[in-house]
Symmetry: C2
Subunit: 137 residues, 2 copies
């Protein structure tokens, strides 16, 4: 399988108990300096769940306890670098404060997430996550 | 993005109104000659929903009306060819009888699907689809 195919990423939606959303500030293009969900590319040989746990830990220092699938985001135009399909998870974490690492220059729970323009289609992912939390409670 | 990454496929779970499951018989390895869900690789530049519709039409001649995400299947061992991540959809189709095409030598609604050993992890996908139908009704 050597033909060109879409790349796969994961994104993590994490709320704390005060309904603040965990966001990182991107170190690298595209959307450098902008807020985004923690996430990144799935490695060959890695499950999407493992990739979500790894990226969350690398970028925010936080450990995932539970993951629930939000959806699959595959619009070919969602990433200016090329066709990237993202698998998004609603993640419950173990207690702890975020510390930025890897591709993130900041990692924080933000109270103002509703007003922020996030990178990629992350506003849409968050909207779907919010709808899912409302339905399942 | 030229490094080796997992490939992405889609699979379609389609039941008719008599609770029979749409299955194809695979023309090519792996699992040649075995029953499987209709599906295949997502093309670069194609959404996963469009890929599911296209593969369903190519392999069975049937047209998808509505798609609902079942889950994401990413175990690196699920495909003997290499790491393939599948996005599975529960699909409602327009009326019509299946006719085999493309990578399928047969396409039929099978009443005995509970007894069949399907290719890849398709038995697991069907089990999850059945659970989802039960919850949402």
């Amino acid at each position: 399988m050597t033909y060109k195919n879409p790349s796969i990423t994961v994104d993590c939606v994490v709320f704390d108990d005060r309904d603040r959303l965990l966001l990182i500030r991107r170190r690298n293009p595209p959307f450098a300096g902008q807020f985004a969900l923690p996430g990144g590319f799935v490695d060959y040989g890695e499950t999407t769940e493992a990739a979500a746990r790894r990226e969350l830990l690398e970028e925010t220092g936080l450990t995932a306890k539970d993951l629930r699938l939000i959806g699959v985001y595959s619009d070919p135009k969602r990433d200016p670098r090329g066709h990237t399909i993202s698998i998004a998870y609603l993640v419950v974490i173990e207690d702890g404060a975020p510390t930025a690492g890897d591709d993130a220059t900041e990692a924080q729970f933000r109270v103002d997430w509703r007003e922020l323009e996030l990178a990629f289609d992350h506003n849409e992912i968050v909207r779907d996550a919010v709808r899912m939390r409302r339905l399942k409670r």
